[in-house]
C-alpha cells in the first residue's frame, strides 16, 4: 500500500490538513532542466498577464480590428481542445466498448484532458475583454441560445465536471476516502456517456463557430462540413497526444508504472496507431470529397493551394501511411514519429482555419507577438507542473491501493 494513503487513513481525517500541506511540498530534485526553463517563462508570463489586465489586450497582443482572434484562441483553445480529445475516445473504448486492454491509460488520459480544459478555458479568460461578465451565459440572465459559442461554453463547463467525476476516484484513493471512492466510481459510466455526448458536440462546435465566417476564410478550409472535419480530426489528434504523452510519461515516471503495465504499453500503442490510421483515412477521404464536390481545382495553383496540399499530403496522408505501416511492422519508434507529425498537422489545420486562412487576402498579416507566445508557453508549463504534481501523488500511472479491490 502507498505510504501517503496509509498516513491519511491512519489518522482518519483529523490530520487531513497536515497531510495536504505535506503533499504541497515539491518532491524530488528541484533544479531539473525542465524547472530551470519553465520557471522564468511562467514568471514572465505572469507579469505579462498583469500588464494585459492593466493596459488592455492591445498592450501585449498583435490583435487588431481586422483580426480579433489570434494565437490564444486559434492555438490555446481550438487546437488545445482537439488534443484533449483523447479522453473521450479512450473512455469510449474502455467503458462503452469494454476494451479492457486500454484500462491502464484511461486515468492519465482523463487527467490530461481535464487539465487541458481547465487551462484552455483559463486561457480563454485571458482573451476576454470583459471577463467579469463570463458568468452571464451561465447564470441565465442572458441566454444567447442562437449562438454556437453559447453551446460551446456550456459544453466546456459541463464536460469539465464530467471529466472531474471520471477522475475523482483517483483523488479519493489518494485521500484514502473509501466510501467516497465507492460512490464516485459508481458515477463513472454516467459521466462517461454524458462526457462523450458533450465531446461530440463541442469538438464539432468549435468548427461550427466558423460556419458564419464564410466570406473571410479561404475556401479550401471553409465548407459546411467544418464541424464534421473538426470532430473526426479530434479523434486522431487526441490519440496522437495519448501516444506522445504516454511515451514521455513512461520515461519520466518510470518507477511508478507496474511491470504488467509496462509490458502492456506496446500492445496499447500498436492498437492506438491502428485506430489513428483508420480515423485519418476517414478524414482524408472526407477532405477529398469536399474538395471535389466544392470544385476547388482552380484554387490549387496558388500559394494557399500549395499550403493546403502540404497540409493534406505531408501532415495527413503521410502520417496515416506511417501509422498503418508501423502497425503492420510493429515499429514503435515509427508510431511515435507518426504521432508527432499528426500533431503538427492538427496544429497546422486549426491555425489554417483560425489564423492563417482567416482574411488570407488581406495586405497586413497577423503574426503573434513574442508576448502572446510567452503567455501561451506559460499556460502550457503551468499545466505540466500541475500534471506532474498530481501524477507524483495520486494513483494515476501507478496501481490503485489494494483496498480498492475489496471496496466493491
Amino acid at each position: 500500500m502507498n505510504s501517503n494513503v496509509q498516513i491519511a487513513t491512519d489518522h482518519d481525517g483529523k490530520s487531513i490538513w497536515k497531510f495536504l500541506i505535506s503533499e504541497m511540498k515539491p518532491k524530488g530534485k528541484f533544479f531539473t532542466p525542465f524547472n530551470i526553463i519553465s520557471i522564468p517563462i511562467m514568471l514572465l508570463g505572469l507579469g505579462l498577464i498583469v500588464i494585459r489586465f492593466w493596459k488592455g489586450l492591445g498592450s501585449i497582443t498583435n490583435l487588431s480590428q481586422d483580426i480579433p482572434w489570434g494565437l490564444w484562441i486559434g492555438f490555446d483553445v481550438v487546437t488545445g481542445v482537439a488534443f484533449a480529445g483523447g479522453a473521450y475516445v479512450l473512455t469510449f473504448m474502455v467503458y462503452i466498448l469494454n476494451m479492457r486492454k486500454y484500462h491502464s491509460i484511461v486515468r492519465v488520459t482523463v487527467l490530461n484532458g481535464f487539465l487541458a480544459y481547465v487551462f484552455y478555458a483559463g486561457a480563454l479568460l485571458l482573451d476576454l475583454g470583459r471577463p467579469w461578465n463570463v458568468i452571464n451565459p451561465i447564470i441565465g440572465n442572458s441566454f444567447g441560445t442562437s449562438s454556437v459559442l453559447f453551446l460551446v461554453a456550456w459544453h466546456f463547463l459541463l464536460y469539465m465536471i464530467a471529466e472531474l467525476i471520471e477522475f475523482s476516484p483517483a483523488v479519493a484513493e489518494w485521500l484514502g476516502a473509501r466510501r467516497a471512492q465507492k460512490i464516485l466510481s459508481g458515477m463513472t459510466i454516467a459521466a462517461v456517456i454524458f462526457g462523450i455526448t458533450l465531446s461530440t458536440l463541442h469538438q464539432s462546435g468549435l468548427g461550427a463557430l466558423y460556419l458564419m465566417v464564410k466570406d473571410k476564410i479561404h475556401p479550401l478550409w471553409y465548407s459546411e462540413f467544418i464541424p464534421i472535419m473538426f470532430f473526426v480530426s479530434s479523434i486522431f489528434a487526441g490519440l496522437s497526444m495519448v501516444i506522445f504523452e504516454g511515451s514521455i510519461s513512461h520515461k519520466v515516471f518510470f518507477k511508478q508504472i507496474s511491470e504488467k503495465n509496462h509490458k502492456a504499453q506496446k500492445g496499447i500503442i500498436l492498437g492506438l496507431s491502428k485506430i489513428c490510421a483508420g480515423a485519418m483515412f476517414a478524414y482524408f477521404f472526407l477532405q477529398l470529397l469536399v474538395f471535389i464536390h466544392g470544385q476547388n481545382w482552380t484554387l490549387i495553383n496558388s500559394p494557399m493551394g500549395y499550403w493546403w496540399l502540404l497540409e493534406m499530403v505531408g501532415f495527413v496522408l503521410l502520417p496515416m501511411i506511417l501509422f498503418f505501416v508501423s502497425y503492420r511492422t510493429n515499429n514503435l519508434t515509427m508510431i511515435k514519429v507518426a504521432a508527432v507529425v499528426t500533431m503538427l498537422g492538427v496544429i497546422l489545420n486549426r491555425l489554417n482555419v483560425t489564423v492563417i486562412g482567416f482574411k488570407w487576402d488581406m495586405a497586413i498579416r497577423y503574426v503573434p507577438s513574442w508576448m502572446e507566445l510567452v503567455v501561451t508557453l506559460a499556460v502550457i508549463f503551468t499545466e505540466i507542473w500541475i500534471f506532474r504534481w498530481v501524477i507524483n501523488r495520486m494513483p494515476v500511472l501507478r496501481d490503485s491501493p489494494s483496498w480498492v479491490n475489496t471496496n466493491k
Binding site: 466498448l97 441560445t145 463557430l209 458564419m212
Partner: protein
C-alpha cells in the same frame, strides 16, 4: 429499475434542451417576419457632397473624439473604436463619389446570432445595439460580422464594443438619427425600411442614367437596415458585392438544430453499446487463464 430512472432523467434533459432550442427557432423566424416594421436609413451617394458633417454629428451624439479635418486624413478609411462612421472619397468612372460607411444593421445580424450573452441585440425598431452589462468581450461578433462593423477598444482595461447604433436613444424619443437629421444635402433619409426601398426604386426609375439599378442592402446579407443608392457600381466604392444574399445566421442553423437529436440519440446509443459489450471482458479473462 435504475435504468428506468436514468432514462427518465435523460428524457427530462432532452425535453429541456428541445424547449430551449425550440424557443430559439421561433425567435429566429420572428426577425424575418413581415409583421415587424424595421426602421432604416438610405444613403444616396448621388446626392452626397462629402461634407462629412454626419461624422461630426455622430461623434457629438456618441461622445466620441471630434473627427480630423479632411486635409489630414486619407480618402478611404474604415470605422474604428473612436469613429462610428466615415465618409470615403472614391475617384470613379463618373468622377468623385462619396460614400458613408457604418454598421449596416442587418435584418438577421450575424453578430447578434454569434453573441452568447445577447449583448448584441436586434431591437424591434431595427437598430442593432450593444449592452456592456452583458458583453464578455469575446469578440465573436467581430469574427462573424460580414461587414466587419463591431470595433473593440484594445487599449482599455474596461473595453467596449463600438459601432453605429442608429442613435437608438434618439429613436426611442421619436427623433431621427443625428446623421440623417442634420444632413444638409438630403443624402440621408430616415424611415421605415419598406418605404425606403420603395423610394429607392422610385428614384432609380425616375432618374434614368443617374443610378445603377441596384439598391445595396435590399438583399445583401439577407437585407440590411442601411440602404445605398449609387451612380456607379458598388465595387467601385469599396463595398463588398460577393456577400450572401441570404442571412448569415442561417449558416449555423443546421448545426444548432442537430444538437437536440444528438442529445437523444448518442446517449441512448452509447448505453446500448455499453450493455451489449458488458460481458466481453469476462470472456477475455477466461481466455487468459
Amino acid at each position: 429499475m435504475g435504468l428506468n430512472r436514468r432514462n427518465f432523467f435523460k428524457l427530462l434533459g432532452v425535453t429541456g434542451m428541445t424547449l430551449a432550442v425550440g424557443k430559439d427557432a421561433k425567435a429566429a423566424s420572428d426577425s424575418g417576419n413581415n409583421d415587424v416594421e424595421f426602421y432604416g436609413i438610405m444613403h444616396d451617394a448621388a446626392r452626397c457632397k462629402g461634407c462629412r458633417g454626419c461624422e461630426y454629428d455622430c461623434a457629438d451624439a456618441h461622445g466620441l473624439p471630434e473627427p480630423l479635418p479632411s486635409k489630414d486624413i486619407p480618402a478611404v478609411r474604415t470605422t474604428n473604436e473612436t469613429s462610428n462612421t466615415v465618409v470615403n472619397t472614391y475617384q470613379t468612372s463618373k468622377g468623385e463619389v462619396f460614400i458613408k460607411r457604418q454598421c449596416m444593421h442587418c435584418n438577421e445580424p450575424a453578430c447578434a446570432a454569434a453573441c452568447l450573452t445577447q449583448a448584441m441585440h436586434k431591437t424591434k425598431m431595427g437598430p442593432v445595439t450593444w449592452d456592456g452589462n452583458k458583453c464578455m468581450g469575446c469578440r465573436y461578433c467581430m469574427v462573424s460580422c460580414p461587414f466587419d462593423s463591431p470595433k473593440f477598444e484594445y487599449h482599455s482595461a474596461n473595453p467596449k464594443i463600438q459601432k453605429c447604433d442608429m442613435c437608438y436613444e434618439r429613436l426611442r424619443t421619436g427623433e431621427p438619427p443625428a446623421c440623417a437629421f442634420n444632413c444638409p444635402n438630403e443624402a440621408l433619409l430616415y424611415g421605415k425600411r419598406r418605404d425606403l426601398i420603395a423610394e429607392a426604386h422610385k428614384r432609380i426609375v425616375e432618374n434614368p442614367g443617374l443610378y445603377v439599378d441596384h439598391v445595396y442592402g435590399e438583399r445583401e446579407a439577407g437585407g440590411t437596415g442601411w440602404l445605398y443608392l449609387s451612380p456607379v457600381p458598388f465595387e467601385e466604392l469599396g463595398m463588398k458585392t460577393t456577400l450572401l444574399k441570404s442571412s448569415y445566421p442561417a449558416l449555423t442553423k443546421g448545426f444548432l438544430y442537430s444538437v437536440p437529436s444528438i442529445f437523444v440519440l448518442v446517449p441512448a446509443f452509447l448505453l446500448g453499446l455499453h450493455q451489449s459489450t458488458k460481458n466481453n471482458h469476462l470472456k477475455e479473462e477466461t481466455e487468459d487463464e
